[in-house]
C-alpha cells in the first residue's frame, strides 16, 4: 500500500508538471486529492491493514498529500503568472501614436518677455506703474526737459491728436507722473511698461511698439547703482555670462546718460551677423535723472538723485528668439504665435 501511495504521488506530480492551464491543474487536483479522488480511494482500503501498519501508512499518506498540495500551490502560482503575462501582452498599445490634442493656446511673445522683465524687477523691489497712452505735450516732452522747439524732439517723430495732445512717444512720462504722486516721500522704485507710438514703419521700426521704463529715486542713488542694476538685469535676461557695456550718450531727461550694450547673445561677443561683427548689441538707454526733471516732479535735486532707463521690448524679444522682422510681432500669424 505504501508503494501504491508513492506511485500515486509520482503519477500526480508528473501530471501536474504537464498541466498547461489552471483548469487542467484543477482537474488533476480533483482527480488525485478530491473527495472522490484517487488518494481517498486508496485510503479507504486502510481498513484491511493491521493496526500497527495503519499509522505508518497513514503517515505516508499524509506526507504524499502534503507534498502534492505544495506542488499544486507552486504550479498554480506559476501558471497564474503565465496567464497574467499573456493577458498583459495582449493588452499592448502603440505608445508612439499621437496623444489626444488638448487645448493649447499661448501668450504673445512680447508679453511673455514683458512678464519676464517684470519678474526680474519685482524681485529687486520695484513696483509696476502705468500711465496713459495718449499724453499731454507737457508730460511727454516738457516735463522731461524737452521744451517746445528743442532739436532733440526730432529724435521722436510724434503722432498728434491736437497741438497739446499726442500719442506718447516713450514711457518716460510715467516717471514724472509717478514722482509727482510720491513726492516728497522716498524711495521711488518703479518700472513702467506700455505701448508707445512713433511715426516710423519698416523692418526695424513699427509705428506702435512696447517699452519698459525704469526709475529709482532716493538719497544717494548713483550711476554705479544704475550700472549694477542693469548688469544684474542683463544677466537674468540673457544668461549669467552676459557682459554689459555703458557708452556715453544723450537723452534730454538724464545726465549723465548712457547707452547700454550687452555682449552679443548669438556669438557671445566674438562678432557675428546679428551684432554686425562688433560683439555688442545695444539694448537700452539710461542715465541719472536730470535735476530739472526731479525739480518739476517735486524733489530737491541737490539732495535726491535717481536713475532711469528705458528699453524696447520688441528688440529684446527679437534678440531672445532670433526674430529678424519686427512686423512679424504685429501680424499675429497663428503659425508664428504657436512657436512661443
Amino acid at each position: 500500500m505504501k508503494d501504491k501511495l508513492h506511485e500515486l504521488g509520482e503519477q500526480a506530480r508528473g501530471k501536474m508538471a504537464e498541466a498547461g492551464s489552471l483548469e487542467e491543474l484543477n482537474e488533476i487536483r480533483v482527480r488525485f486529492l478530491g473527495k472522490k479522488g484517487e488518494l481517498t480511494r486508496i485510503l479507504r482500503g486502510m481498513g484491511s491493514l493491521s493496526a500497527e501498519e495503519r499509522p505508518r501508512v497513514g503517515q505516508v499518506a499524509n506526507e504524499v498529500r502534503a507534498a502534492l498540495e505544495e506542488e499544486l500551490a507552486v504550479r498554480s502560482a506559476s501558471l497564474k503568472e503565465l496567464v497574467r503575462e499573456q493577458k498583459l501582452r495582449s493588452e499592448g498599445i502603440d505608445v508612439t501614436l499621437p496623444g489626444s490634442p488638448g487645448q493649447r493656446g499661448g501668450i504673445h511673445p512680447l508679453n511673455a518677455v514683458l512678464e519676464e522683465i517684470q519678474d526680474i524687477f519685482l524681485g529687486l523691489g520695484y513696483s509696476i506703474a502705468e500711465g496713459p497712452e495718449i499724453e499731454t505735450d507737457y508730460y511727454n516732452f516738457e516735463a522731461l526737459n524737452l521744451p517746445k522747439d528743442h532739436p532733440a524732439r526730432d529724435m521722436q517723430d510724434t503722432f498728434f491728436i491736437s497741438g497739446e495732445i499726442l500719442l506718447r512717444t516713450q514711457t518716460s512720462p510715467v516717471q514724472v507722473r509717478t514722482m509727482e504722486k510720491t513726492a516728497p516721500e522716498l524711495p521711488v522704485k518703479i518700472i513702467a511698461p506700455g505701448k508707445v507710438y512713433r511715426r516710423d514703419d519698416d523692418a526695424t521700426h513699427s509705428p506702435m511698439f512696447n517699452q519698459v521704463e525704469g526709475l529709482a529715486v532716493d538719497r544717494r542713488i548713483t550711476f554705479s547703482d544704475l550700472k549694477g542694476t542693469l548688469a544684474h538685469f542683463a544677466r537674468e535676461m540673457f544668461g549669467g555670462k552676459t557682459i554689459t557695456r555703458f557708452r556715453p550718450s544723450y537723452f534730454p531727461f538724464t545726465e549723465p546718460s548712457a547707452e547700454v550694450d550687452v555682449s552679443c547673445v548669438m556669438c557671445g561677443g566674438k562678432g557675428c551677423r546679428v551684432c554686425s561683427h562688433t560683439g555688442w548689441l545695444e539694448i537700452l538707454g539710461s542715465g541719472m535723472v536730470h535735476p530739472r526733471v526731479l525739480e518739476v516732479s517735486g524733489y530737491n535735486s541737490e539732495d535726491v538723485t535717481g536713475f532711469a532707463f528705458g528699453m524696447g521690448i520688441e528688440r529684446i524679444a527679437m534678440l531672445k528668439y532670433g526674430i529678424d522682422d519686427m512686423r512679424l510681432l504685429f501680424e499675429n500669424d497663428l503659425r508664428f504665435l504657436r512657436q512661443f
Binding site: 502705468e130 547703482d225 544723450y250 538723485t305
Partner: protein, 806 residues
C-alpha cells in the same frame, strides 16, 4: 556728420588707426557708425596727360589716344567724348583695380591695342551725388597743372578714411572738424591746434562800405561781415573739392565751396552775397513783414510769414536767416565783389522757420542746435584767408561785427564731492581738472572745488551735472563699479489690475486661445465693416492729425475689428482654424484738447474648430466653446454670478446667437456669433464667434471670497431625469426650476444630453439631466431620491409643460 581722418590731423596729431579712433570716440559718446576708406579697392591709377587723339580705324564711336604717364606713353582706346588733347586725367594702367572690383588688363578694342583705361569719378569710388552732372557722366578731368605720373588717389585726396558720426542732438559743436578734433585731442592727450587765420588785406576797409543794422536783436545776436573784392569765380582746388565730397557735398565754385568748407571745418554756416547786387551795401536783419516773398537759391518762390527772421537790404528780403540765401544776390560767374556773412541766429527761430518752410539745410541744422557765438569772426577770417590764398579774391581790411551784447563765457562750479555723490565713484579733483582742461574748459581751483569756464562752443554745458558727465565720460564709464541701491527697502508690487492681467492671460492661453497684439489705431472704415449705424457711439473716435496712412488714422474704440483683421489675415494665409484674444486699451474721446478715457478691453474671436485627431472629433470654436472659456475664466477669477441674457439688437452680432453678459445689474460685455453681414463685409466665408468684455468691470466682480464647505460624510444618490420640452424655452429657466424644486438636498445638477429628431415631436427636444442628492447629516434612501426626482419632474411639467420621458 562725415569726418575726414586727414582733415582732423590738421588740428591734432593722431597716432592711432582710423578704426581705433572710431572705437575710442564711440566709447566717449561720439558714436562712429562706420569707417569708410575713400577710393577703397582702387590701385594703380596714375595721372596722365592726353598727348593726342586720333580716329579709330574700325569704329566710329571709339578714339585712339596717346597718354603720357610720365615714365612712358600709353596707347589707350576710349569711347569717352569729354576728353581733349592736353587734358590731365586718371589712368588705370595694366594691373589696376577700380572701386567696382574691375581689374584692368591689356586688351584689343576692335583690333587696336589699348594699354589702360581713363577713369570716371565713380570708377574711383566717388559718390556721383557729389559730382556735377557733367562730371558724373564722363571721364574725370583734373585741373591744368596737376602733376603727371603721380598716384591719382593722392592727387584727388582719395587716400583718406571717413568717419561717419551718429551725433546726439546736444553735440552741435561736433558738426565740425574742429569740434571732433577737440574731442580727439582730449581723448589722446594731445594738443589741439586752433587755426589762427592770417592773410594780406587791401587798404580799403570793410567798415564804411558795408552797413549792418540788426533790428531784431533777440533773433540775431551777432552778425559779422567781410568784404572781398576782385573776385574771380572758378572752380576750387582739388583737395577742397574732395573734402567737400567726402562730407557728402557737391562742389559748385570757389566761393560757394569756401563757405561750405568753413562750415564743415569750423561749424559756422556762412553765406556769400554778391555785394554789387546788394542795395546800398546795406544789410538789415529784421523780422519778416506781412506779404514779403523771396526766391531762394533752389529757385523756389516762397511766401514768408511775419515772425521769421530775414536778411534784407532796403529793397526787401535777400535771404532767410540761417536757412537759405536768395536768388537776387546769388554769387554768379559775373560776381566781382562779395559780402561774407558769418552770424549767430536764434536756434528756435531758425528751427521754426525751416520747419514751416519745409526747408532744412546744412546751415539750419547747425543753427538750430546752437553754434559758437564766439567763433563768428574767426570763421569770416578763415573764409577770407582761403579765398585770398586760392587767389580767388582780395580781402578788404577788417570786418563789420555787430552784436547785441558782450560775449561772455559762463562759469560753473564743479564739486568733486558732488560728482562722487552722483556717480558712486571717487574721481580725484586733480583728475577732473585735467579732463576738463583737455576738453578746452578753463579751470580754477576754489577751496577744493573747481570753477569751470565754459567755452562758447559748448552750448550743451550749463549745469554742474553737465560737467560731471563730461568728466565721467572721459574718465570712462567702465571705471564705475557695479552696485545696487541701498537704503529703505521696498516690496515689489503689481497692482490688482496687473496681477489679474497675468492670470487672465494664462487662463485664456490654457483654454486654447492665442494672445495677439494689434495696433491701437485703425482705419475709419472698420465701423462700416462692423455694421455699425451712423450714430453709433463707437464712431466717435479720436483722430490722428498726422497719420502714416488712412489705415492707421483713428484710435480704436473697440477691439473686435482688430481681431477680425487677424482672423482674416490668417484665413487668407490658409490658417483657417484658430481662437485669439487680446487685452488692450480703447480710447473714448472727451474732446480734442483733453486726454481721452482709456479703457482696457478683453476680447476674443474664434473661427473653425479645435484640432481633432485619430481618437477625437474636432470641437467647433463656436458660441458654446467661447462661453465655456468664459465660464472657466469666471470660475478661476471667482467672479460674482454672471448671467447671459439673449441679445438680438446688436448690429455687429447674430440676433439669435448672442448674449449680453451682466452681473449685479451691470453690463460686463457681449458674447456671440458675428452677424453674417459683418462676415460678408470682411469677405470671410466662415463663422466667427467673439466676445468683448470691459476688463475693469470684470475686475470689480472678481476675487469673491472662497468659503470652505465641509466634504460630505454620507454618500449621495444620483438619478437621471429626461424630459421633453419646447425648444424655445431657455435652459437657464429649466435649471432654475430644477434647483428650486430640488431644494437643499439637490447638491448638483448637470445637463448631459439634448436630443431632437426621431421619436421627438417637432418643436420639442429631449433634455437629460443628471441630478445628485445629498444630505449633510444622513444617508438618503432611494425612496427619498425617487420622491424628489418626481417632485422636480412635476415642477417642470407645471411650469413648462414638460413631459417625462421614459
Amino acid at each position: 556728420m562725415k569726418v575726414s581722418y586727414k582733415w582732423l590731423q590738421e588740428f591734432v596729431n593722431i597716432d592711432i588707426s582710423p578704426r581705433e579712433l572710431a572705437d575710442r570716440l564711440t566709447l566717449a559718446g561720439i558714436t562712429v557708425e562706420g569707417v569708410k576708406e575713400t577710393g577703397e579697392g582702387v590701385s594703380k591709377v596714375i595721372t596722365g596727360q592726353i598727348d593726342s587723339i586720333s580716329r579709330h580705324p574700325n569704329a566710329d564711336k571709339l578714339v585712339v589716344t596717346s597718354v603720357n604717364i610720365g615714365t612712358e606713353k600709353l596707347q589707350i582706346v576710349t569711347a569717352a567724348t569729354n576728353v581733349r588733347e592736353g587734358d590731365i586725367i586718371p589712368v588705370a594702367v595694366e594691373g589696376a583695380k577700380l572701386a567696382s572690383g574691375l581689374a584692368i588688363k591689356r586688351a584689343k578694342l576692335r583690333g587696336v591695342e589699348s594699354r589702360g583705361m581713363m577713369c570716371s569719378g565713380q570708377e574711383l569710388g566717388i559718390d556721383p551725388k557729389t559730382m556735377s552732372a557733367e562730371q558724373a557722366s564722363g571721364i574725370m578731368i583734373l585741373p591744368p597743372g596737376a602733376r603727371i605720373g603721380e598716384d591719382a588717389k593722392e592727387i584727388l585726396g582719395l587716400d583718406d578714411y571717413i568717419l561717419e558720426l551718429d551725433l546726439t542732438p546736444n553735440r552741435g559743436d561736433c558738426l565740425s572738424i574742429i569740434g571732433v578734433a577737440r574731442e580727439v585731442a582730449a581723448l589722446l592727450g594731445k594738443p589741439f591746434r586752433l587755426p589762427q587765420p592770417s592773410f594780406g588785406e587791401l587798404d580799403e576797409k570793410t567798415e564804411g562800405q558795408v552797413k549792418v543794422d540788426i533790428l531784431d536783436r533777440d533773433l540775431c545776436r551777432r552778425f559779422v561781415g567781410r568784404l572781398i573784392k576782385n573776385v574771380r569765380i572758378g572752380s576750387s582746388p582739388l583737395w577742397m573739392q574732395q573734402r567737400l565730397r567726402a562730407a557728402g557735398m557737391r562742389p559748385i565754385n570757389n566761393i560757394v565751396d569756401v563757405t561750405n568748407y568753413v562750415m564743415l571745418e569750423l561749424g559756422q554756416p556762412m553765406h556769400a552775397f554778391d555785394y554789387n547786387l546788394l542795395q546800398d551795401g546795406h544789410i538789415i536783419v529784421r523780422r519778416v513783414r506781412e506779404g514779403e516773398k523771396i526766391i531762394t537759391l533752389d529757385g523756389a518762390a516762397r511766401d514768408l510769414t511775419p515772425g521769421m527772421l530775414a536778411i534784407t537790404d532796403p529793397s526787401g528780403p535777400i535771404a532767410i536767416a540761417g536757412v537759405m540765401g536768395g536768388q537776387s544776390t546769388e554769387v554768379t560767374d559775373k560776381t566781382e565783389s562779395i559780402l561774407l556773412e558769418s552770424a549767430f541766429f536764434n536756434p528756435v527761430s531758425v528751427r521754426r522757420t525751416s520747419k514751416a518752410l519745409g526747408l532744412r539745410s546744412e546751415a539750419s541744422l547747425r543753427f538750430e542746435k546752437g553754434i559758437d557765438i564766439g567763433g563768428c569772426a574767426r570763421a569770416a577770417d578763415r573764409a577770407a584767408q582761403l579765398i585770398v590764398e586760392m587767389g580767388s579774391g582780395e580781402a578788404s581790411a577788417g570786418r563789420v561785427d555787430r552784436t547785441s551784447e558782450t560775449i561772455t563765457e559762463r562759469v560753473v562750479q564743479f564739486r568733486p564731492s558732488r560728482a562722487s555723490y552722483v556717480l558712486g565713484v571717487d574721481i580725484p579733483g586733480e583728475t577732473a581738472r585735467d579732463i576738463l582742461t583737455s576738453l578746452q574748459f578753463k579751470v580754477q581751483d576754489a577751496n577744493g572745488d573747481l570753477l569751470v569756464t565754459i567755452p562758447t562752443h559748448r552750448v550743451d554745458v550749463s549745469l554742474e551735472v553737465d560737467l560731471i558727465e563730461e568728466v565721467a565720460r572721459m574718465y570712462g564709464y567702465d571705471k564705475a563699479p557695479e552696485t545696487l541701491p541701498f537704503g529703505k527697502s521696498t516690496g515689489g508690487m503689481k497692482t490688482i489690475e496687473q496681477a489679474y492681467t497675468t492670470r487672465v492671460r494664462s487662463q485664456l492661453a490654457a483654454s486654447g486661445l492665442f494672445e495677439v497684439m494689434t495696433y491701437s489705431f485703425v482705419h475709419p472704415r472698420v465701423f462700416d465693416l462692423m455694421n455699425l449705424p451712423a450714430g453709433s457711439p463707437y464712431r466717435n473716435t479720436l483722430n490722428i492729425q498726422n497719420p502714416l496712412s488712412e489705415e492707421h488714422s483713428v484710435m480704436r474704440t473697440m477691439l473686435l475689428p482688430c481681431l477680425m483683421e487677424v482672423l482674416v489675415r490668417n484665413y487668407n494665409r490658409r490658417v483657417q482654424n484658430g481662437a485669439v484674444f487680446e487685452m488692450g486699451r480703447v480710447f473714448v474721446t472727451r474732446g480734442l484738447d483733453t486726454q481721452p478715457e482709456e479703457k482696457t478691453i478683453l476680447a476674443a474671436a474664434a473661427m473653425g474648430c479645435a484640432p481633432g485627431s485619430w481618437n477625437l472629433a474636432p470641437a467647433a470654436f463656436d458660441y458654446y466653446y467661447l462661453k465655456g472659456v468664459l465660464e472657466n475664466l469666471f470660475s478661476a477669477l471667482r467672479t460674482a454670478p454672471v448671467t447671459f441674457r439673449p441679445e438680438s439688437a446688436d448690429p455687429s452680432f447674430h440676433p439669435g446667437r448672442t448674449a449680453v453678459l451682466e452681473a449685479d445689474g451691470v453690463r460686463l460685455g457681449i458674447l456671440g456669433e458675428l452677424h453674417p453681414d459683418v462676415l460678408e463685409k470682411y469677405e470671410l466665408p466662415v463663422k466667427v464667434t467673439a466676445f468683448e468684455l470691459d476688463f475693469n468691470q470684470l475686475l470689480a466682480l472678481s476675487g469673491q471670497p472662497a468659503d470652505f464647505i465641509p466634504l460630505p460624510k454620507y454618500p449621495g444618490i444620483e438619478r437621471d431625469l429626461a424630459v421633453l420640452v419646447k425648444k424655445d424655452i431657455p435652459a437657464e429657466g429649466i435649471f432654475a426650476a430644477i434647483r428650486e424644486a430640488g431644494g437643499k438636498l439637490l447638491s448638483d445638477v448637470s445637463l448631459f444630453d439634448i436630443y431632437s429628431g426621431e421619436q421627438v415631436p417637432d418643436g420639442m427636444q429631449s433634455m437629460a439631466f443628471s441630478l445628485k442628492f445629498q444630505a449633510v447629516d444622513r444617508t438618503l434612501t432611494d425612496a427619498e431620491a425617487v420622491e424628489m426626482t418626481n417632485a422636480i419632474a412635476g415642477a417642470l411639467a407645471g411650469k413648462f409643460g414638460a413631459e417625462l420621458r421614459s
